[in-house]
Amino acid sequence: MVKAIEATGIAVVHICTIVPISQTVGANRIVPAVAIPHPLGDPTKSHEEEKMIRRAILEKALEALKTPITEQTVFN
């Protein structure tokens, strides 16, 4: 899905838990997520802390979208 969308020329950032799978499916901009049941959250934290985590990941995602790349890049 990532590849097919990007094929139209729109930049895609893939936020995902299993980076190797993302690499296999051919995402170019990859941002690792927290864990499978909750990629952009962490139920062990308070609601506010969770939103901070989510924000950090999304900021990284915007950063990735702004970054020129020539090959598959994982934004850690």
């Binding site: 097919a4 170019n28 997520a33 139920p43 979208l65």
Partner: protein, 348 residues
């Protein structure tokens, strides 16, 4: 006996018209039309084109499921022994339609079907696994070569004769592994290959790794403050009640839902349809998968201009690559049309 064959073509080859007539709905005619005449000649007395089913490419693309069903009904009304579709050459929507119709015929009617396309037609990647697609040139000028090749293959299938290799029969590789004896033993082949690899000469692997085909990275967003961003997820977050019945795994569809004015993917309105993981965390706070709450905040702060009014969702778990690709192509086309600059895709 004379085999009964139905031919599927689009509005253009039926002589109805070009792009302006692409919205034409499915219709059915007796006998051969357009390229069907060439097939008729190729079949001689062995097979007969008993009917032609026509559908506009635009209509098909916009009403895929419904159109497919209607077309299938029209085809089966002729009680055919086999179906040929196209050839579609390099016409993308026509190729997709030929592929979809062929696949439906093969799966639902269980009769032989052959279509034809240029290898770069997007329909090839989507449907090659299930059906025979004869390789054609990129334009209708190639009809002279395409027709005999397609006719020969469909006759083989009708006679239940063994089908040879893609090179011998002229169809595009379906990705099926077939055993065959080589001239040399494996070890000699391996050492030959190593010698070539070391010399920098060309060599051909006998087992290409599962496709790692790549799309070149899109240009980065230069002006994020003015960018429109769309949210897509394979994590299965849907409006509560799952109105479109997206499957918990091996999804055959995706959903498109408005989030205009929605400030947060709260647990009242949203839930997950995903069957691959413990849904508790996603259901307690769907923002953990579909982060609308924080994106709205960022939008307000002016970190980017606008969150696109719709989000797209499906379940990534076990979904066939062809489906995922189809979803992506359709979503991409829509986003492009609506001037979206970038996509955030979340997966579990």
């Amino acid at each position: 006996m004379t085999y009964r064959i139905v031919h599927y073509i689009n509005q253009f080859f039926a002589g109805i018209g070009g792009e302006e007539k692409a919205g034409t709905g499915p219709e059915s005619k007796d006998g051969a039309i357009g390229p069907g005449m060439a097939f008729k000649a190729a079949f001689g007395s062995e097979a007969e084109i008993v009917g032609t089913v026509i559908c506009g490419d635009g209509y098909f693309a916009e009403n895929m499921d419904g159109a497919s069903e209607k077309i299938l009904k029209m085809i089966s009304d002729f009680s055919p022994d086999a179906v040929i579709a196209g050839p579609a050459f390099n016409a993308g929507r026509y190729g997709t339609a030929c592929g979809a119709v062929s696949e439906a015929v093969s799966k639902k009617l269980g009769i032989p079907v052959v279509t034809g396309m240029y290898p770069e037609n997007p329909g090839v990647d989507m449907y090659r696994k299930g059906i025979y697609i004869v390789e054609t040139s990129d334009s209708a000028r190639g009809i002279k070569d395409a027709v005999p090749a397609m006719a020969k293959l469909i006759m083989k299938l009708l006679r239940a004769e063994p089908v040879g290799s893609p090179a011998d029969e002229g169809y595009i590789e379906r990705g099926v592994r077939v055993n065959c004896f080589q001239d040399k033993i494996g070890a000699e082949r391996a050492v030959d290959m190593l010698v070539k690899k070391l010399k920098g000469e060309e060599f051909r692997t006998e087992y290409p790794m599962p496709v790692f085909d790549r799309v070149a990275p899109a240009e980065p967003i230069k002006d994020m403050k003015n960018a429109v961003i769309a949210l897509v997820t394979s994590g299965g977050i849907v409006p509560k009640g799952n109105p479109d019945h997206i499957e918990a795994s091996s999804a055959t569809k995706y959903g498109t839902y408005s989030i205009a004015g929605v400030q947060s993917a709260d647990e009242v309105a949203y839930a997950t349809a995903h069957g691959g993981y413990d849904p508790t965390y996603a259901n307690t706070d769907p923002n953990r998968v579909l982060p609308i709450d924080v994106l709205r905040e960022m939008e307000k702060n002016g970190e980017f201009k606008k969150l696109y009014d719709y989000f797209f969702t499906t379940v990534g778990n076990g979904t066939p690559v062809a489906n995922a690709k189809k979803f992506g192509t359709e979503i991409g086309a829509r986003l492009k049309k609506d001037g979206v600059d970038a996509v955030i895709l979340t997966s579990t």
